[in-house]
Symmetry: C2
Subunit: 442 residues, 2 copies
Amino acid sequence: MRLKHDEKGRLLFTRCSGDGSYLNYLQLPLLLMRSFIIKGHTGGSREISMFHFKCTSKFRKSLVKIPDPKLLLHKPQAMPQCEFLTLNLTHYPKIADLRSGYLSKNQDVIDEAQRVHANVLGDLLERFSYAILFDLADYENKGDPAIAMGELQFLKRLGIQLLYYCKTSACSDKNVENAFLKFKDVSSAEMVVLLQGGGNMFSYESLDKIRESVITRFQDHTIVIFPQSIWLRYADYKLDYYRQMYNSHPDLTLLVRDQESYAIGEQMLPSAKVILCPDMAFQIGLVAFFAPASFDILWLKREDSETTGYVIPRPPPYLSLHVEDWTNWITPKTDTMEHIFHLTLNGLLFLQRGKVVITDRLHGHILSTLLGIPHVILDNNYGKVFNYHNSWTKGLETVRTARTAEQALAKAEELLSSYGGACQKNSMTFCDYNENLSQICK
Amino acid sequence: MRLKHDEKGRLLFTRCSGDGSYLNYLQLPLLLMRSFIIKGHTGGSREISMFHFKCTSKFRKSLVKIPDPKLLLHKPQAMPQCEFLTLNLTHYPKIADLRSGYLSKNQDVIDEAQRVHANVLGDLLERFSYAILFDLADYENKGDPAIAMGELQFLKRLGIQLLYYCKTSACSDKNVENAFLKFKDVSSAEMVVLLQGGGNMFSYESLDKIRESVITRFQDHTIVIFPQSIWLRYADYKLDYYRQMYNSHPDLTLLVRDQESYAIGEQMLPSAKVILCPDMAFQIGLVAFFAPASFDILWLKREDSETTGYVIPRPPPYLSLHVEDWTNWITPKTDTMEHIFHLTLNGLLFLQRGKVVITDRLHGHILSTLLGIPHVILDNNYGKVFNYHNSWTKGLETVRTARTAEQALAKAEELLSSYGGACQKNSMTFCDYNENLSQICK
């Protein structure tokens, strides 16, 4: 029994400093917390589930308004918010986003994401003592390392011991085979095999190949793919090849980050469990500023194959605008796992350079949400950013969507006048020095 | 009149966010603060000096113990601490360090450094409305950008408008000449010429050459060199050349960071004012952690011409030790002044990788002090680190000195068991993941 309880039966988790603290997902708004009394507490035995709570009549009254009743495939009626909070979402694989979109505060959206992680992934993983994790992103697209950091954070919180990990750059067939040989004696009842989340299923073949290697090799183990977005980018023959590959595994769960990906996944992978689940970077939680803004508007503009190819409009002369992709914002390299943290930190720093952010990168949106930076999102080429927003973050009060670059700039200027007038608080101050000086000797 | 007062006559300074806050050096321990009633308040006129305070009899009783009476050249008697706080230190150029070494808390040492800055540099610079600043360090030796950041911070606090700056990499003779031509019409009563501090007088010729260029060109302006350490590294003929060059200016002030440099400066530069003053990086103030530790001990080991050439001892197997110089920890490059901030931030990140730090770099010591990381210092080849420590930081309770690398490691281990057992608080957690895993596929 890994889970610990305090004297009132509430769950504790062990932080790395060794002191007991309550699970983050319990830090919901105070009113909701009162309904979080754990059912079926039988003195610390394994039967206690951390994901089912007593629902009082008082909280039945706060209804979740369901925009489309068809969403609730398994419970097709309006549902009290509190009842929703009691559901084991692995049994309701399409409705995990039911509450999140109604939340307007960053902290609440983050808490809800962590609650759903604990609910869905907790249910899937809690029975395992050990995990091995392939394809931890160690490259400069800061969103992927942020996901990796969230995954590691979550495993730590759940108390699952990581026996082995493999950074993307090191996940060769040979190393997958080495890992298999090294841990083949750990039983499939004790060890789960995990694959990094992201936005690269059926679209970035080097990563589908890593998954192929793992799925083919670990046929006897439960495999869970952390939350993904699906982009059907390949030609039909190749789609078919990987579809069959994924369907070949007897115990594969694919978590997906949006309804569009859910629909595709459910259709293409009938052999797999497909479950809606928010992006793992939300495990990082709310992040305190550690740097002041250098620009009024920081435009994180993707320069990869997912760009929609828009042109940056000319800003008004009174606005300082900086446009850059963060893949060129290079992080000091180390050969330990701290590199993944530093990549993430560098992404968080990159975004703090703007009082307001405009971005067409999903993790420009997600990390800005963790930081509390007001921002405008543009979609990528296949709808990933807006699909995510539609499921999880559409209620956020400091986020705007834009269809064109001109609209994005106009909305960013509105956000700037509403929220962006001051230096970032609680950080070292170094503002106003950047563009206003006569730096004649560059 | 740039200085602003509140309704009680206390000084305000304008933060970049635009709200009024009290000067940092007023944030001394509460007891001391009570004696900080400003003398001679005459309704906001320019005669009000910010650096003289009323001294009550109560506080006369808290004597500063003076280790060597000869230190007090101009006031050769034991002095009440409160009376020391009332001195205009530009008139007592050798005793600015009288109080700092008795302070045991990081916050107090930082406050005292900022108080002395305000006292000494405030007195020197307060009459100027404008400044130009040469040789702002934009290279990867993180201590120098940290000094630059402190200088900019201080000018901002004093309300002096920076008309022009020149990063080290851009301070060519031509650019010094350009700056002169551009600002020659700003009167010497209004504009001061400033030169970056550091540890490079009479030792790093490219920087002495920049100063030569500025000093030769700006003969009619007041020039102040921010706090330096002096290392007489050149052959005699070259020392003599630069000595004459510095003495050629009619209004040059050289601030020095330790008593050794004071003695050399006073002897070699009779034409200049030489005044003791702490390192400008202390203007950054106390820094909150933004990253967790990756190692038990981070050894920031200098690999430049100032190393003493020691060999790293083998650590006990239960300790994780990482040895690295921070000049190879490369910062993402931008062409605006934010680069100086990012270089500093990267230095602060580098140090946070250790629960405890060992270093022979002066700004390993100073930035660890700003962060509150317990650390052990070794000296550099010419005594710069220990000389600084002797003047300003020798009372700090979480700092140890070591004469050998073996001693440093042993003392670091002691600090670790006293202070270093937990994750850094208030930062994202990511610890325990670095070295403890079987990462068989590097």
